[in-house]
């Protein structure tokens, strides 16, 4: 988890292969992507989903 005071963005340099994928997928060119820490954490270790305990009325 993110620590208080920690830099909130991370820059990742793309490989040639990744740049080609980026061009193919989006038509845009770029050498780096910038992610907020929260976005990065969501990619590396996605939070587990919690279920809902929804209640149902029985019309007795």
């Amino acid at each position: 988890m993110q620590n208080p005071g920690q830099n909130t963005t991370v820059r990742l340099r793309l490989t040639e292969e990744q740049r080609a994928l980026l061009r193919h997928g989006t038509g845009r060119d770029g050498e780096e992507v910038e992610l907020r820490i929260e976005e990065l954490e969501e990619r590396i270790a996605p939070r587990l989903a919690a279920n809902h305990n929804e209640t149902m009325l029985i019309d007795a």
Partner: protein, 239 residues
């Protein structure tokens, strides 16, 4: 696709949620337990994940009607989430709603209502609240009010829940059908038979298409609908 036995906790948890939705409760519980063992064994235990898995294990017991056991699991999850520094308010609100449903099952309506209201207040203060979480809290508070005979309030809450679910979950989602069933019960009790009958029809159609005719929710909704007198054009009394 992961090989059997090599799934991640997130994959096992997602499968567990699907098993619960399909009423395959033993499988769901086993999947959550496996995920919990993996999370606990990993270096630097992710306590947030542990809390969610106890929340979900409590959900299995809620679906089975074992509310005492479920409440103990849900309280443990909530305590872990809170931790020494306090947990994420939105996640704690969702934990509180899940626990409240189990408390209702134990007859503890007062604590359940407090938890629903606290969660809804948290959601109202927070722009990033998940609308599906808000809808679940509105649905549950609405059913509690309906059970207690507070039908006007129940109807308003359930209408809000249904409107949110139509928007965020879509018109074919079984969770929308659940709220439509609850709204139908509230309408029937208020004497609005025509609306109740229409809501039951919509709910049953969705449940049969999405969960099948033999799912416990479908069976319960069909039994409710069978107790609703045929639409005879009656309208609720004014006011």
């Amino acid at each position: 696709m992961p090989r059997v036995g090599q799934e991640s906790p997130a994959e096992l948890n997602a499968l567990g949620i699907r098993c619960k939705a399909a009423a395959r409760y033993d499988e769901g519980r086993a999947l959550y337990r496996r995920a919990l063992a993996l999370v606990r064994a990993a270096p630097g235990t992710d306590w947030n994940a542990v809390a969610t898995l106890y929340h979900n294990l409590g959900g299995i017991e809620h679906a089975r009607g074992n509310c005492g056991e479920g409440a103990a699991l849900a309280r443990l999850g909530l305590a872990i989430r809170a931790g020494p520094g306090g947990g994420d308010p939105l996640e704690m609100a969702a934990d509180g709603v899940a626990l409240a449903a189990l408390l209702e099952g134990q007859g503890n309506d007062d604590e359940a209502e407090r938890l629903y209201l606290k969660a809804l207040a948290t959601y109202e203060r927070t722009a990033t609240a998940d609308p599906a979480d808000v809808a679940a809290a509105l649905n549950n508070l609405g059913t509690l009010c309906a059970r207690q005979g507070r039908l006007e309030r129940a109807t308003g809450l359930l209408e809000r829940a249904a409107a949110l679910k139509r928007t965020v979950l879509g018109r074919e989602h079984p969770d929308l059908a659940l709220t439509l069933n609850n709204l139908a019960v509230a309408c029937r009790r208020r004497g609005d038979i025509a609306r109740a009958a229409a809501l039951y029809r919509e709910s049953l159609d969705i449940l049969e298409r999405s969960l099948g005719g033999d799912h416990p929710r479908t069976l319960a909704c069909r039994a409710n609908a069978s107790r609703c007198p045929a639409d005879n054009g009656r309208r609720p009394p004014p006011g």
